[in-house]
Symmetry: D2
Subunit: 343 residues, 4 copies
């Protein structure tokens, strides 16, 4: 009953096998290998667009390096107050971006809304005295497990564009969002105005591999220098690319994500039926935010369930985050629900 | 006949298998897993000392983050003019170190000598007007494939200590140096005065894994924050640690390194016997620096040999670097030598 | 009728004369001169405490360098959402602090309250994933022209201390706050728990001179390196110190500030009496925040009055900021009030 | 007999008077004032070219901010090994430049030669693994008190241009160089290929004012943001600009520099005539590098002479640096020479 995070589970066998198959024989290093080249082609196909693809080993690196590339060091990044770049990356974007500023916006369900962007802009009208609004960052699926529709993404990117800002998407759970929507990958990225996507695989079955995808080669600018200078250029890049290729092969990424989403839905349905338990957010991807009576939360933990307290307990209840993954056993759901039902 | 670099070859099967075995079942993320814990114990055993161990995915990250930790941002790092941190990492140490300064010292055979440290110090005597000499960085084996003896390491660290400087060792080819010396790992590290070792595995058979090893826990300071803020904290760290564990298991690391060293020695012996060919550096690890007539170099390349021109061709000859690895086939040596012999 | 800012006015004659008197004859450079030494003694006397004093030429430098010294690069600075470091310094603190994070807190009248600090802390409990709460920054007088009482300062510093955070005070208008309170300088600084004060003189009559004052020498750490490395170590420091000495001589600083405060009070009283005009903040120092009907604001501007629109006009009214200074002519107040009265 | 540095002397009366005259009445702040505007016009006239002018308060700020603007953070700046940016600014350029790299070149008489640039370039041919050679920095007059001729400047800028590098001139002693050459300011700046000049006034009679001068507005890029973010945007900029205006008025700058140069020549001539004393560098501006017997150096110091030991004493002699300034009394020269002559 481990619902602590999607990175608690290990790697899919298909992915580790692909690393083994990437083999021992010589390949050009630093990304000139055949795997990285095939990865670019495969992603171009999936996204129905030319792409410039750069594998890195963590999501924090992907986010911080791409934002540092989109923004000047005097830039400001508008993002949701609960986004990973604000809450979980220890100011990596500020550091790798040369001291830039994140601007934390409020927004229901973890989503940035066009109105929030517009409301924040007037504070930045004083020339060199203010940071320059340079990028908007969206998280898809959001930190609250909700999903922007294509129309919502397009509305945000339109507001960004109007203000001269680029658009970054943190796609650590991109596959989960896509499965929920059932649309084309393009529909929530370049076609909706996104400039760069941090395409996550680690949370959804890889050992450690994320792809930074630029949809406009001109925006790549000095990204490759930034990746090197921060220690993120992998010498044997074939092993990151092989993971990503296997992830995309036979739609493994989508199978994984649908499975995780389905388990979340099942868990959410079970939870919603329990008196005194209340879902805090719509469950659209693979995360459940739920208010549990503190006594119940404690009992579940002593029974071996693992989940994360999103907020410190208050008023006798806990806001718990439960995450399902590609590898969560179905029995974990059943067990958990069995224990939660009132006797 | 690929002698271009030791990172041209892939990964050892034992290492990829260990990643597969690290599995899919839940483990705490971010380094709290059992693999990372076992890795620490294993390294403490190998180094006969308490250690604080931090796996990262690249050597550049290992070097830059450990130096950034040893030095204040106003610090200076003394290192060889041909060292990797000076020549091959695009100023990553300066960047991740908050603008610190590398001081490139001359030195025969790629080695920093105590005299070079002493000669450089007087330039840094002007208080806040000068950078503060804060660390000496050694590369073991050096960029020229030569190896510091324990006595040589101790002499450098004594000079560093006298000047109040910490000591960093770039051990991207540490195993190769160790095999050449036949000493204990401790003899060329903490016992000889080294504070932090960047213990390389990638060049010697891993997919992408290096361990930053501190021999004094007090020197770790804010390293963990630095690792996170630069995007180098791996969520599923088990997969880096599993690589390193397999690397150390049954002395795989030493088998690999001895093999690479032996092939280099064989290749060097063959080269030395050819008229007009001249070794430029002693061959002590797995790198050969050799002057080749330009015509010969060109012919070898057209025959399919891959190696690196250390300097642009001049005066009809090329300074070639040839690197052997754990996976270089013996036939590559034989083939290469067969083609090099005058007919 | 220039109420645009207190830095619109020039310098007091006493201050420029002191610069002239600092003369042409040789003095040690970089702060070893007699003027800088006398400045330290004078400030120790005024603050009734040992001090380490560092003159710099701008308030932004004073704030950013002192915060960078108090905080590690992975630190977070808690401060008011409307503070100068958040709104007016283009992320200088983030830049000079090596990528640290400002956390913008809400708070009535531009003041940080202990409760706001406590409410923000739980977001930073995730070890290396979160920035480390390292300093609280207060602005005295605040950006809204209000003043923390000694009791209020002490309450904030107690909350900071409890969370292991240092306390910084942006005192660009410190003299104005002090005159309002009528207390000892010590009462709102070290005696109330402040670690470092950026003591402003520029806005209150100097050409360009601010003193960073540490009340605990141990907290100075690497400040002097930081000042040098950012280009803020003045070679002929005597000229900054001479300004500050003249500023403190015969209580010039307090005369200036009382005058500015008195003019503000006079202006505020006049404004408050006008129907349709509404003070937005208590007027305690030398700034007035007032809602003016848009038509009135426009008319005043066309009559030659200068003031700053704090927010873009909305709903037919303007939130205007009017600032009085040591050199604002009394006639400017009379003229302005004459034009504002309904006919 | 103070020859320790040209910043040991204070400020010229004309310059402090101009600050007084800049007055108390309102002016727009942050550089929109009439003084700064007039300064730009005056410099355009003097340099016979359009200019973008930015006053700052220190030479370190001028150098570091302009180089940070000319170079990307992954850039390398080629400069003389003895230049101020290498030896005396505590890596300010690396810090404010976001971690860029200085490349210290050898060169007779403190000058960078085209051949040294060409010799250094091949080390930087490895794409993202190497820093990108982005700017050449010249010091005019050099740290050794020698002066580049217009032809020499043009030769260096041609080599820079060929390598795609911009050209920066550290002109802390620009006036002294100009007086030595007797040419037009344009002849050793834009007309000879210089992109940006850090035009010094502090060492030559100002309180603390330097002008960063861009000869091509397109190269200004984000300089204004960088100035602000590093705390170098002066709110009451009129006082820096007034200093620079007075400095340029009636050719005060040239009178000062000629006087300092003449005193240096006189001192050098006297020194050269003394047996056992040997000039180490041609004396072309206001600095003298001279080998003195150690006993003589000690005696002079005990007689009250102040000068700087460029190197630690060795082999019984001292390499002394003596600097003359606009305000050095003629009697100091006579006194010094009287004491140096063998009796």
């Amino acid at each position: 009953m481990n619902f602590s995070s999607d990175n608690a589970y290990g790697a899919a066998p298909e992915i580790v096998q692909a690393m083994a198959a990437a083999g021992i024989s010589p390949e050009p290093s630093y990304g000139e290998d055949q795997f990285t080249k095939r990865l670019s082609s495969r992603l171009a196909e999936i996204f129905e667009h030319e792409v410039a693809v750069f594998p890195v080993s963590t999501g924090t690196a992907a986010n911080a390096l791409s934002l540092a590339t989109l923004c000047p060091p005097h830039g400001a990044v508008f993002c949701h107050a609960e986004s990973h770049i604000v809450m979980d990356e220890c100011a990596a974007t500020e550091f790798l971006g040369g001291g830039l500023r994140l601007v934390a916006l409020p927004g229901a369900h973890g989503k940035v809304a066009p109105a929030a962007i517009e409301a924040a802009l007037p504070s930045f009208r004083r020339g060199v005295h203010s940071s320059l609004p340079s990028a908007v960052s969206l998280t898809q699926a959001t930190e609250y497990g909700t999903v922007y529709t294509p129309v919502e993404v397009a509305a945000v990117t339109a507001a960004a564009r109007k203000a001269g800002m680029a658009v970054h998407m943190d796609g650590a759970r991109f596959a989960n969002a896509l499965c929920h929507l059932g649309c084309h990958p393009a529909d929530i990225t370049w076609r909706a105005g996104v400039d760069v996507l941090c395409f996550g695989a680690t949370k959804n079955g890889a050992c450690g591999a994320e792809a930074v995808i630029f949809f406009d080669r001109a925006k790549v600018r000095d990204f490759e220098y930034r990746r090197k200078r921060s220690g993120h250029l992998l010498s044997k890049m074939r092993f990151a690319s092989a993971q990503l290729l296997a992830y995309l092969e036979s739609d493994l990424w989508l199978h994984h994500a649908s499975r995780a989403n389905a388990l979340a839905a099942q868990l959410a349905a079970g939870l919603a039926a329990v008196p005194g338990v209340k879902l805090a957010q719509p469950v659209e991807a693979n995360e459940i935010f739920v208010y549990l009576p503190e006594a119940l939360a404690n009992r579940l933990r002593s029974d071996g369930a693992a989940f994360y307290d999103w907020e410190p307990p208050a008023a006798g209840r806990v806001l718990a985050r439960l995450v399902t993954s590609f590898a969560t056993p179905e029995t974990a759901i059943a067990d958990f629900l069995a224990r939660i039902r009132p006797t």
